[in-house]
Amino acid sequence: MSKMNKNKREDRWVNLLKETVKKNHPELPSDAWENLNFKLTQEEKKNSFAARKKKIILTMSSIAAILLFFLLFKNTSVLKQEILPIAKGKEIVATIEPYTTQLKDNSGTHLKPIFKRHKRAYKSVKKESKKNQKQVTFSKEKKQVTKKKVVTKDASPQKGNPKDLEKKGKRKKSKKDSYYTPRNHSYSKNKSSTKKWSLALAASPQTSQFSKQNNLHATSLLANDKMTYSIPHGDMFYLQENVPLAQRIEHSQPIQLGVYFSYTLAPKWALETGLFYTKLNSTFSFMNLESKKQTLQYLGIPLTLQWYIWKQNHLSYYLGAGGAIEFAISSNYNNETIKNSHPQWSINSHIGLEYQFIKSLSLFAEIGGAYYFDNGSLLKSIRTEHPLGLNIRFGLKFSY
């Protein structure tokens, strides 16, 4: 027998003891599995009840959040309603810029004209559109065409004898003529320069009277005031008589669909990217007489960092923050393609619910806020009207 040595790493007898103990496994207690089975059943019941309860709460809260979202933010209506009183017989000089955004008087006040397509005028303009001129000028008394300029003199009211109406200085209102359509206007056929469409501007008398009636804020437009204003492609429009000049823009809440890839950085952290599709629908209404739809479609690439707050079985809740860049794949206004080449940058944060139905594939729904940076585009959308807004996303997520 040798004495115990402290510095020795492995004693032979200890190694032997280790081998002996390792080789011979103790017998399991006879009721070990029965007891464990019983405990497992109890745990299962407890977990399934708790999980069911949590699932119900989470599902209900998610549904409630989504419903609330849709109820509150389904359509964001932007009412642009301003009066454009124009003194009778005064000449108005306006600059026309296709699809620009504003109508301004020289004091900087933004004005919105009412747009209305006039069939007859539209037809004549269409014919002339081939002649490569952008603007049309019409007037009762004289025609004048300048490049990017419309000069309008007093355009007589329609219905009845215009001369009589002129004499009276005002005209009776009727349902039929709630929109002023110049009757005796003419287009300078030789000089007008629209491509496919032309724009016509007619000044209407007596609008100031109307403004009083409707108790709306009026901005006087004096003679020779210059205006720039937005004109959707192809629209004939007339300043109307006796009704407020208004444009109603209604943006539908955008919904995004996408396929996302998530890379787990740490047990509770993941980096996500992917490809998502966004459709932005807007409706431009002009005094309920005419409405035009604008559809902008984008494909976007996001980069988001996600933090999983809670995870159980197949269900998880998470918070995320990141950014995205979107490129327009299709842009239409009134079924016609319009140019939209500006990429859209945005930052966002959200709370999401994820359901993993197979190992690396899950379905998710997110609700959150996003800020869309000004991309320099003149197109109006919910993102230009409300750069900071709520959004919702549904999608499939691949995790690896």
């Binding site: 027998m1 040798s2 004495k3 115990m4 402290k6 004693d11 032979r12 007898w13 200890v14 032997l16 003891l17 280790k18 002996t20 103990v21 390792k22 011979n24 496994h25 103790p26 017998e27 399991l28 207690p29 070990a32 599995w33 007891n35 464990l36 089975n37 405990k39 497992l40 745990e43 299962e44």
Partner: protein, 189 residues
């Protein structure tokens, strides 16, 4: 007779909550894990309780197991059970360093004879380990059976490396004395 399935399939079935397969996993690896419990816990009944609790924990966390070939499951299960036992001991908040060790360093104890060890029943050998003070037992198990270094043990238990090595030495002294005493008392020829 039911065909024996692979470890990978067994794990997948257990993750899905197949009770029959869970029973199979228990039968395949239960003895090995029970031996761990017996070595770490102070008595048989506590070891039995911790075996059950440990298996409950195993079935919950089996989803995180990544199959890396035959034998990987056994190694993973052992690791989980060792950690479970250490946690169970921590929960008891006992003093890991026993005062019993104070007299041992001055004693001169002879190394047990290999033949003697071979003839002692396994259950008795396990009992000797069980009877070690908690701190000694943990360090002895971690160093000898789990083959951890003193640095790893120190990090795991939040003690100093020196403390780990000195407690291991004392654990071995105490164990050797128990074996020698067992022989002297005539249990062994």
């Amino acid at each position: 007779m039911k065909q024996k399935i692979s470890e990978k399939e067994l794990v997948e079935a257990c993750v899905k909550g197949n009770r029959e397969r869970q029973g199979e996993l228990f039968n395949r690896f239960g003895q090995n894990l029970f031996a761990i419990c017996l070595r770490y816990m102070e008595d048989y009944s506590t070891a039995q309780d911790e075996l059950q609790n440990g298996f409950l924990h195993i079935f919950k966390s089996l989803r995180s197991f990544k199959y890396q070939g035959e034998g990987s499951l056994s190694a993973w299960l052992s690791r989980v059970m060792v950690n479970h036992c250490l946690q169970a001991l921590r929960k008891k908040k006992r003093h890991w360093i026993s005062t019993e060790s104070l007299h041992l360093s001055e004693e001169i104890i002879e190394e047990p004879n290999e033949e003697v060890i071979n003839r002692i029943p396994m259950s008795q050998l396990l009992r000797f380990i069980e009877e070690l003070p908690e701190g000694f037992r943990m360090i002895f198990n971690l160093y000898i059976f789990e083959e951890k270094s003193h640095r790893e043990i120190a990090q795991l238990l939040g003690i100093q490396e020196k403390s780990s090595s000195s407690q291991l030495y004392r654990a071995k002294l105490l164990l050797a004395r128990k074996i020698n005493d067992y022989k002297k008392k005539g249990h062994h020829e």
